[in-house]
Amino acid sequence: MTTTTKYNDTIVKGFVISALVWGVASMLVGVWIAFQLVYPELNFNQPYFSFGRLRPLHTNAAIFGFALSVIFATAYYMIQRLTRVRIWSDKLANIHFWLYNLTIALAAITLPLGYNQSKEYAELEWPLDILIVVWFVIFLVNFFTTIAIREEKQMYAALWFYIASFVTVPLLFIVNNLSIPVGLTKSYSIFSGVYDANIQWWYGHNAVAFVLTTPFLGLMYYFFPKHIKQPIYSHRLSIIHFWSLIFVYIWAGPHHLLYSPIPDWLQTTGMVFSIMLWMPSWGGMLNGFLTLTQAKEKIKTDAILKMMLVGITFYGMSTFEGPLLSIRMISSLGHNTDWIVGHVHSGTLGWVGMMSFAAIYYMVPRLWNTNLFSEKLANTHFWLATLGILLYIVSMWVSGITEGAMWRAVDDKGFLLYPNWVAITEVLKPFRFFRGVAGALYLTGLFVMIYNIVKTIRTAGSGFKEIDLRVQEGATK
């Protein structure tokens, strides 16, 4: 194989495996703490396993363990093929890989010990923050040098989205994490109160934008056309929605702080830009769907394509829900409730998760030069994941709206109808229980995938042969 000698695929393999490892870790903790919200004794009376300490572990492992591993795996895979050169430095790639995994492992140790700076999605304490900056710079140097030495002049759309992420994330990360260390495991943000909140949600919202959205759009733009062997539907739409997406997304942070004491003009700006964001988001979704129409007859047989279809559908759904929730009136009901938890998971499980799985199923046979062990198991995984997400968001919709409605309910004299907090919590228990079940379904799907991939890797080197499943299905009948 000429491709294996030309490109460094070892680094891609490494990140695929770390994606699976951190994926299991994050979802296992997720399912666990979901059940803790129904059965609090599931912390087994250990300080390390209480909800408050495990929740940051869950989110960090999911976003920075699973999603980032997928981003790095696909970035290394794609950039070499789109620039037609090997990654600039194998050595830097390896250092990046090990330092990155060291950081996530240290996060998995320090967060249960209670070392966190209390900023959502930026909980890691300052020594780890510095470690992150170190390997991110190493990665950036390698990535951009590869672009500089490229043999293919034109940079394809998929690459734009990765570039946008990699120039934006350092800015967000560094500004939000500015703090004064007062010990090896403790620091205080240099910003206070209202200012701190504003900067935190500028970061928090754009972590959603530039970690969980743009790289996965880039992933879609590369793997989707590759897989169906058809070009993306509209290049012009790519251009328009790329530039408007990155320009508009960055403004939307204050919608997390509606009705809080941040200045009113700021809240309104956040709300207006959130609503505007709907269009560039759907631009990406439409480009995906329209591309799919060119290969719609494959959907029936192909698990990868099904996952992409569901992924793009959930992208469309959650980017519709987001602007909706950023409208002041809807926010007054939904804010702080389980609805938001459901919204986030429809994005992460539906969009990020499904697109990641699709990319991994696409890459693994090619990387290990063999064929997928079982197409049937991939299908089983697809159904478990899809049912899991659906059950998850439906139970969280019901729970969240019930919660919001019960908080605000007053009787005809104007007194609160449900002044007792625990009474509301009791009502929500069954929905929260089903959320746990939904998470377990999704996790089971991931285990099926890992079994499938381990079996696939066992036959490494047996030669990858592309099979058109439609033809195969017809032949066996």
Binding site: L37, V38, P40, N45, S50, F51, G52, R53, R55, G114, Y115, S118, K119, I147, A148, R150, Q154, M155, W160, I163, V167, L171, I180, V182, K186, S187, Y188, S189, F191, S192, G193, W202, R236, I239, I240, W243, I246, F247, Y249, I250, W251, G253, Y259, I262, P263, L266, T269, G270, N336, V341, W407, R408, A409, V410, P419, W421, V422, A423, T425, K429
Partner: protein, 229 residues
């Protein structure tokens, strides 16, 4: 449609040029994302009305600060907000004694010395911004932390008995360092505050500190209302 096409074609012409120039493309991308950040992050610092100071709001005492550290360490902010929105149902729920007059919602001045802010984003348990006025009993707070089910049957909060164990004592030296760090970022602690750390946290457990912190929440602004009366 033609009208719509003109600006698109115009823009596409530029954008297509950048596609083959990595440096230009990255720089323009960076500029595009800077706009929103600059517009939203910089002006609040220069507008005097972003935070109107409240006369009675003062920094936490050493023991309260130790309690706040415990609050952060245990991740209480993952389930409890400290942000009461200006709605009747929130003000009624979180200011039942009407301790804040007609304005029982959160104001910017209340979190002036909060490094970092702890407003939270999920209200699995009740809001705590005014906890000192809702449940002022130290004994209740202690029993609730040791076993939430004893004071609130059906609660799904984890129990925190270990905070009150003998070896979970507050370390005066580190609290002093924390206060010195906070001075650097602008919290007006005095030399007197620093000198009294030792005596203030002597023999106290993490649990005592956390209770002291909870019983401080909302006290400043409630005091303000009392002085106005």
């Amino acid at each position: 449609m033609k009208l719509f096409d003109i600006p698109l074609t115009w823009f596409e012409k530029f954008a297509s040029k950048w596609e083959s120039d990595g440096v230009k493309f990255s720089v323009y991308t960076f500029i595009a994302i800077l706009f929103g950040g600059l517009f939203e992050l910089i002006p609040p610092f220069f507008l005097s009305r972003t935070v109107v100071p409240i006369a009675t709001v003062t920094p936490y005492t050493a023991l309260e600060l130790a309690g706040r550290d415990v609050y952060q360490k245990e991740g209480c902010n993952n389930c409890h907000t400290q942000m009461i929105r200006p709605f009747k149902w929130e003000v009624d729920r979180f200011d039942p004694q009407k301790a804040y007059g007609r304005d029982g919602y959160s104001k910017a001045g209340e979190s002036q010395y909060e490094h970092p802010f702890l407003w939270g984003s999920k209200r699995t348990g009740p809001d705590l911004a005014h906890e000192s006025q809702i449940q002022p009993s130290e004994d209740w707070q202690r029993r609730h932390l040791i076993n939430p089910r004893e004071t609130s049957p059906g609660s799904i909060m984890p129990a925190y008995p270990w905070l009150f164990e003998k070896d979970a004592t507050v370390d005066a030296e580190s609290i002093r360092k924390h206060m010195e760090g906070l001075i650097v970022v602008g919290v007006p602690y005095t030399q007197k505050d620093l000198d009294s750390v030792e005596s203030s946290v002597q023999g106290k457990t993490d649990g005592d500190a956390l209770v002291a912190y909870l019983l401080r929440l909302g006290k400043d602004t409630a005091n303000l209302v009392k002085t106005i009366k």
